[in-house]
């Protein structure tokens, strides 16, 4: 579904990605892990179009997408969330999701006459809020939600764009144990909807428990890839995570 081919990214003198290749297969939950500064978020930003790769290709559903506008890439069916949450703070929870439901409308002349708050659309938005456990907060401004709920809201808004690939940047960061459990449940429900997930995460227990496939980056290079059981035993991975070894085995 998504192929990243030999992607390099240089910021001035800093080489963030040194030629990374990997593939995300349809229907899988794919994790992208690695120590801080490994280039994970840079890779996300290249996939969704915030950054152009210095060289290399990104191919999504047989179309080359690297270098396209993020909104164009979104229209092809890639949605994302952010490491530092970026909900629309002055919109209500419901309006955030309604904004996501407009993905196709923003690109057409319908934007000048399509009413936002139609019965059918509100129902769709409420379904998504239900799915993400946000139904009781629907009329609250996003800015006053606690972080855990803002993360869920970002996922709901991303799902509203009806993506085939969902990119989640550290969805479990800042969540407590219960919230993390909820998130794992949500991942399964999203997978059941036929949506492929690629996510970045530092919470190893969560990652290893939910991922079908794990790709490990270190210093801008892919150092390992495979099912969680293999990856956690890989000496290179253990070395990259030196000092957090016990965490991996936990």
């Amino acid at each position: 579904m998504l192929k990243v081919e030999n992607v390099k990214k240089r910021f001035g003198g800093l080489i963030a990605l040194k030629g990374v290749s990997f593939e995300v297969k349809e229907g899988e939950i794919h994790a992208l892990i690695g120590p801080n500064g490994a280039g994970k978020t840079t890779l996300f930003n290249i996939i969704n179009g915030f950054l152009k790769p210095t060289s290399g290709k990104v191919i999504f559903m047989d179309k080359r997408i690297d270098g396209l506008r993020p909104s164009k890439i979104a229209s092809y069916g890639i949605a994302r969330t952010f490491q530092i949450v970026r909900t629309f703070p002055e919109m209500t929870v419901l309006e955030n999701v309604l904004a996501g439901l407009g993905k196709e409308i923003y690109r057409s002349s319908k934007v000048f006459y399509e009413k936002v708050k139609k019965q059918g659309r509100i129902e769709k938005a409420e379904k998504l809020l239900n799915l993400c456990g946000l139904e009781e907060y629907k009329n609250i401004y996003a800015s006053i939600l606690p972080l855990g709920l803002q993360r869920k809201l970002e996922i709901a808004r991303a799902l509203a764009t009806r993506p085939s690939l969902l990119l989640l940047d550290e969805p479990a960061s800042g969540l407590n144990e219960n919230e993390t459990k909820d998130l794992a449940e949500l991942f399964k429900r999203i997978k059941d909807m036929g949506i492929t997930i690629l996510f970045i995460e530092h919470d190893m227990r969560f990652t290893m428990g939910i991922a079908d496939i794990v790709t490990v980056l270190d210093y801008g290079e892919k150092i390992a890839e495979g099912i969680p059981e293999e990856v956690t035993k890989n000496p290179k991975v253990i070395e990259a995570y030196l000092g957090t070894e016990s965490d991996i085995n936990a």
């Binding site: 179009g49 229209s75 409308i105 936002v116």
Partner: protein, 288 residues
């Protein structure tokens, strides 16, 4: 206060309601602060004045041209907003205001510092419009613009603007092309300012470069900020207050700019959302 005088002030307030709502589209909806809004106003006014005096165009064709030319320049001058953001955009728009006024002042085609005089009164159905009729007519247009804003409030265009204003990256991630929506905002805003310009030219019968200088941009900004950025009622009430107050309180007339400055500072300190914005003074009174 004679009736004619009252109608004149009413006409001005109608024109400024349109201008304030027009600035509100770029600033309140799309979050692009423009401090050169009088430039679009001037472009609309000069378009009508030139067409009426030099080419003998009738009222409605020049009205239409003012709107179209305003929209075109809104589009054109909106292009910098794609490259510069925040404080840099503010400075760029101030610069554009000065450039436009300088062009009016120094190019003979635009009449130079003495402007263009002799714009006739508009003629509707063979009848010349008197002060009262014109106040009514501009009021009807201001009302139409308010209806347009209420309409925009309900459609996806408004959500696209809001997304751009609140977070450009998040906007792009849900399919909102940020440049496209900024251009939409500047074009709509330019068209409405062009309309206001037409109304001004026909009200005054003449246009001068200084009618559209930087302090005018500041007064439009004051209306929007005082009433409440991003709301509909805010800019309308702001425009009414800022136009009528100096008429009622004659002695403050010479200190207009000083008063605008003080209003902006006080609003920013104590009513950052404006009188009709979130937690605004007037809003809480009306709600009761």
């Amino acid at each position: 206060m004679t009736l004619d005088y009252f109608f004149t002030v009413l006409t001005f307030s109608n024109i400024f309601i349109i201008l304030a709502l027009s600035l509100n589209v770029v600033m309140g909806y799309a979050g692009q602060v423009s401090l050169g809004h009088a430039a679009f106003f001037g472009i609309g006014a000069y378009t009508s004045a030139i067409l009426a005096t030099k080419f003998g165009w009738g009222y409605f064709p020049s009205l239409l041209m003012s709107i179209l030319v305003g929209a075109f320049f809104g589009f054109l001058l909106g292009l910098p907003s794609l490259r510069v953001k925040h404080d840099f955009l503010v400075l760029t728009t101030i610069g554009l205001n000065f450039v436009v006024v300088a062009i009016f002042k120094h190019i003979d085609f635009f009449g130079g510092p003495y402007g263009i005089i002799g714009v006739p009164r508009p003629v509707f159905f063979g009848k010349e419009l008197e002060t009262g009729g014109y106040a009514l007519y501009t009021g009807a247009l201001a009302f139409l613009v308010i209806l347009l804003m209420i309409y925009i409030e309900k459609i996806y265009l408004r959500y696209g603007f809001e997304a751009v204003k609140e977070n450009e990256d998040a906007a792009e991630s849900i399919g909102v092309s940020v440049p496209r929506f900024k251009i939409y905002a500047f074009t709509i805003s330019g068209a409405l300012a062009g309309l206001a310009g037409n109304l001004w030219a026909y009200q005054m019968g003449m246009v001068f470069p200084d009618d559209f200088s930087f302090p005018v941009s500041i007064s439009i900004l004051t209306m929007v900020v005082l009433g409440g950025v991003g709301t509909i009622s805010g800019p309308v009430v702001g425009a009414l207050i800022v136009t009528f107050l100096p008429e009622i309180l004659r002695p403050i007339q010479d200190y207009r700019l000083l008063i605008y400055g003080i209003i902006i500072v006080l609003v920013m300190l104590y009513q950052p959302g404006g009188l009709l914005g979130k937690n605004g003074l007037l809003r809480s009174i009306f709600k009761r």
